[in-house]
Symmetry: C2
Subunit: 299 residues, 2 copies
DNA sequence: CGCGTTTACGCCTCACGTAAACATC
DNA sequence: GATGTTTACGTGAGGCGTAAACGCG
């Protein structure tokens, strides 16, 4: 039994399949497979049931997993006890929405680089639903996602709230920017694809208003959406701070609606059984640097 | 950092020198040395100070040792969590005096074999002083020794007491076997070499009696001593049970003395920082099988 | 047939022991 | 010179990736 085998087992058990675990370990799938077989031989117990389409933990494997995790953790602690660098090290794959990426992500990276120079924080930008899947799959270590996860294996730490406001260019909503239902019939709603956290509050709002929207202009980039809104290609919503900032510049008008869009609660999510030491540090850094949704420099 | 490296470090730090640690690990000294260098490279800290005649732990090494020990322990626990054999396994080198070896050691081995069939208990017979040294050196895992250890790194568990009685053949002490000081002047005392626990109580007794013994017949084997006593080559003492047994057979006489020989308290000793899981099991087995000093079959 | 895992194979690193060298007392 | 540790070196096992094969949906 070696630490490498335990590491392989931990990730193979945690990730969606061997290929993903292998990728996380910078290893070929075949080598990972062999390591796992060797571990099983060394402990004399089958840890994975390979009869089905994909390998799944046996009951022995389930029992083994927490032991393996604890052992790896204390190995890390032991390593660090001698590293004498008080800071953390390692690789943390962080999922964030584009909104976060455009706003406080640079601050987060600066913060962690300063406090934990050996911690390699690798951001991965995607919409919330995909981030959630990747997190469960083991492709990501943690992710900042709108809303709390309902998945039992995921724990969510609330880190902040963002308010959104409807906006449109003066050419679309008029100089006074008064709310009229007709606006939503005549102009497409420029929005992110389904699966983004912001799309959910849009749907809730539409449901509350009992509005039927003839067509949406779907774009997967907030930067592009802002540009489309400014260009008058539809109406949409932006973080309130962005909206006010752009309104001050005169390129957009804020549309007052009743009710207003529900605020979005962002959480830092991680797998429940992932107790690696960088997780609390990440949370601390996120909380320290996440005053939310300040307008990106490009606006 | 691998488990093998940690194991190498643990034993190198625990044993008197690298050669002994290597022997315990079934490894050549050179391989052990290389493993240690690799460990030091992997953690980036020198763990041994090699400037002197022998390698000695650096402060970093001292700090590291408990971590390494804990890690190895939880590795063992992890292994056992899957081995599903409730019993222990491994190799335990047990030091015992010859008196123990001749009496309850077979019972101890039978007991452990029955309760922990995978635990290889390897007895090493020698006099108490040598056992103590070997235990401190790391050549032994535990030892049954007369008296408590005064060494701070050794813990002693009391396991029983043995009483001794002076004996002599009828041809030496007479049919009535009455105590006379002259006996000790005219006949050599047949005894173990210095360093055996029993020799200590002899010296204490002689000091209390203020007796000067002209010469001792030193022999390193209790079986031979019993034979010498029976053969009338001197007087000596045996465990009380042996003495009575041999007296019943008529080959020896028990000599009543005032004061009587002090009883000898036996303890199971182990290194303080050795928390391997077989240690409590060994203690339990020793306590279960050590009703002391029943006469060996050969008498 | 796609996806996930294992097997086959060649490559190369790494860990071992023997033996010699080195260092300290 | 005795003891303790490291270096040199030849050997063999083991871990790696590529690519092909297998097996389940």
């Amino acid at each position: 039994m070696t630490l490498k085998q335990l590491e392989a087992f931990y990730w193979a058990a945690t990730c969606a399949n061997f290929a993903m675990a292998a990728e996380r370990l910078h290893l070929s799938t075949s080598s990972l497979s062999k390591r796992l077989v060797e571990l099983e031989e060394s402990v004399g117990v089958r840890l994975f049931d390979r009869t089905g389409h994909k390998a799944v933990l046996t009951v022995a494997g389930e029992r083994f997993l927490p032991h393996a995790g604890a052992l790896l953790q204390s190995a890390e602690a032991t390593r660090r006890a001698l590293g004498q660098d008080t800071g953390l090290s390692g690789r943390c794959l962080l999922g964030v929405g584009e909104l976060c990426a455009l706003t406080w992500l640079p601050r987060l990276l600066a913060h962690t680089r300063q406090h934990h120079p050996d911690l390699r924080l690798e951001p991965h930008v995607d919409i919330g639903r995909v981030l959630g899947e990747r997190l469960r799959n083991g492709e990501l270590d943690c992710a900042v996602i709108a809303g709390r996860s309902s998945h039992p294996s995921i724990v969510s730490h609330t880190i902040g709230q963002t308010h959104f406001a409807w906006v449109g260019s003066p050419s679309v909503v008029g100089r006074k920017a008064e709310y009229r239902e007709k606006l939503f019939e005549e102009h497409p709603i420029v929005t992110l694809p389904t699966g983004a956290g912001t799309t959910k509050i849009l749907d809730e709002w539409l449901m509350a208003k009992n509005l039927d929207v003839p067509h949406r202009l779907i774009c997967n980039s907030w930067g592009a959406i802002a540009g489309l809104l400014i260009g008058g290609l539809g109406i949409g919503f932006l973080p309130e701070i962005w909206a006010r900032s752009l309104a001050r510049k005169g390129v957009l008008r804020v549309l007052r609606t009743e009710p207003s869009l529900a605020p979005l609660t962002y959480t830092l999510q991680r797998r429940r059984n992932d107790d690696r030491s960088f997780q609390p540090a990440i949370l601390a850094s996120v909380l320290a640097s996440a005053d939310f949704m300040t307008p990106p420099r490009l606006l």
